[in-house]
Amino acid sequence: MSDQVESKIWVFVEQRRHVVAEVGLELLGKARSLAEPLQWKVAAVLVGHELDALAEMVLSFGVDEALVADDALLEHYCNQAYVKAVEGAIRQYEPQALLLGATAMGTDFAPRLAARLRTGLSAHCIDLDLTPDGQLLSLVPGWGGNVMARISCPKTRPQVATVLPGVFPVPEPGRARGRMVSLNPQLQPEDLGYRVVETKREEAPKSGLETAEVVVAGGWGVGSKADWTRVEELAAALNGAVGATRPPVDEGWAEEKQMIGQSGRTVRPRLYIGLGISGHMHHLVGVKSSELSVAINSDPKAAIFEHCHVGLVGDLKEIVPPLVEAIKQYSQQEPG
């Protein structure tokens, strides 16, 4: 087996305890579509211990190469060890671009790696483009979503970007055609930098938001904790889950786990209804993939009306109660 790695775009597919973060798979799909016009090959990079089964799995997503850094010292995520494990391979094989999810791990690993390689990194991207001459253009929201910046990295390689989870769809797996390449990290215990004592999953009860077919989200415009029942009633009438923007969470009307957006969850419902939500990018990135989106807002100029399918200008306190009534009547007509 030749160990020459040919892929020009590398995607870091994050795993903890052999469970991959979905954003890694989302990026495999995006990387393949970016690479296609340039006829570049795409690699998935796996770092950890005992990764053979995961390597098979990522190969089924149509990548050309699965680059595997496997070592007992990599069992728990540790940024310095991870950097060391892939740094050498990047210097040797010189990929043009490296994509990572903007997760807790990705946002810690990517900047350290980019600094080690003295190359550019753009953070929390919500879209990516590749020019015919191989320049990666990343779309980055800034200033609370008030502006968008397009970032390029003209002089150094690889061009590194972290991408928000949920922006791109997870591709369909198929028949594997690529091959596995071992990166042979050769680590010493001193490379770790710190020692992981334990990793705990907190019993954050699943909010059901991510898988809900219907999501009704409330924003600052809902007005008060007492009025929050309007959001809940509409969600209940539609058998949906309740989501929120950040202000209702900060105010204690809704729980942290209900927050949707850049700092919260990403939803993909068939129906999204936003009540009293202005439409900041920070929230909208989390609802981008809704099949049908509806907004009720008293301000006709609210940005959300530029991003949703159906809009109702008006006071949610006046629209929601008759809406809930009408929905209940339909549901009673055709039970089940």
Partner: protein
């Protein structure tokens, strides 16, 4: 114990509605918007002050920013920091995160040895959340991000709790180190009038490029590997289809539509 806190002055988010995008120059017009400490950096500073109360030592604040940011550093001194250093030079202007981390690292090298550098996890304006890890890389120390708890007992490794998706990781780490914090780590203290008066006596040093040793080329716009190719207001997809009428009619029309689509 010697603790350094990296503090970034940012335009006060309370006034962001006054931010304008200049369509010609494609830059943000932030004239007249007052500066403040990046909100998470207050939590970093609070963590430093708590540790000083517990272990003794000093808390230094370091910032890379234009010279007119001194009032923001005064805020940090009023909160309780002992001393502030402002890295300010036209050569530094336009640095991306690699450049910022590099300039901060050479400033910190001049300050000498330290046990702990504290940063916020991210800033609200650029919001890259990259500087702390890159700073650690330049300084060659370990770093932990997303820190929501810290336990320090003398003579033993420290324990840092780092938030991850749906849980946390607990790590043992030895100084010197860089930690960046999330807001749940603590509640920043209030500043009293007395504190503000006291802060007047505390020194702010301004260091230019000549006061530090820049051996690598990453500082400033020219040295930064990333470039802003474009800056624009978020894309407008075009107006939604509007449902009009009085509230009852709107409700009825929407319910009818949802019914036809099978949602009720």
């Amino acid at each position: 114990m010697r603790i350094i806190v990296c503090v970034k002055p940012v335009p006060d988010p309370k006034h962001w509605n006054r931010l304008q995008l200049d369509p010609k120059t494609r830059t943000l017009v932030r004239k007249g918007i007052p500066g403040t400490i990046n909100p998470l950096d207050r939590h970093a500073l609070e963590a430093a002050l708590t540790l000083r109360e517990q272990e003794g030592g000093e808390v230094l604040v370091v910032s890379m920013a234009p010279e007119d940011s001194q009032p923001v550093l005064k805020e940090a001194l009023a909160m309780g920091a002992d001393r502030a250093v402002l890295l300010s030079d036209r050569v530094f202007a336009g640095s991306d995160t690699l450049g910022t981390a590099y300039v901060l690292s050479v400033g910190i090298e001049r300050l000498g040895e330290f046990d702990l550098i504290l940063c916020g996890d991210e800033t609200i304006d650029g919001g890259t959340a990259q500087v702390s890890a890159q700073l650690a890389e330049f300084l060659g120390t370990p770093n932990v991000m997303h820190v929501s708890g810290l336990e320090v007992s003398p003579g033993k490794p420290w324990l840092a709790r780092s938030q991850i998706e749906h849980g946390y990781t607990l790590v043992e780490i030895e100084p010197p180190m860089v930690l960046s914090v999330v807001k749940t780590i603590n509640t920043p203290r209030y500043v009293t009038l007395m504190n503000i008066l006291e802060a007047e006596q505390k020194p702010i040093e301004v260091w230019s490029a000549n006061d530090v040793t820049l051996s690598e080329p990453w500082a400033g716009l020219a040295g930064s590997p990333t470039q802003m190719a474009d800056l624009f207001a978020p894309e407008r997809k075009g107006m939604a289809e509007m449902i009009t009428g009085d509230p009852k009619e709107q409700a009825a029309k929407l319910a009818d539509r949802l019914h036809r689509l099978g949602f009720c």
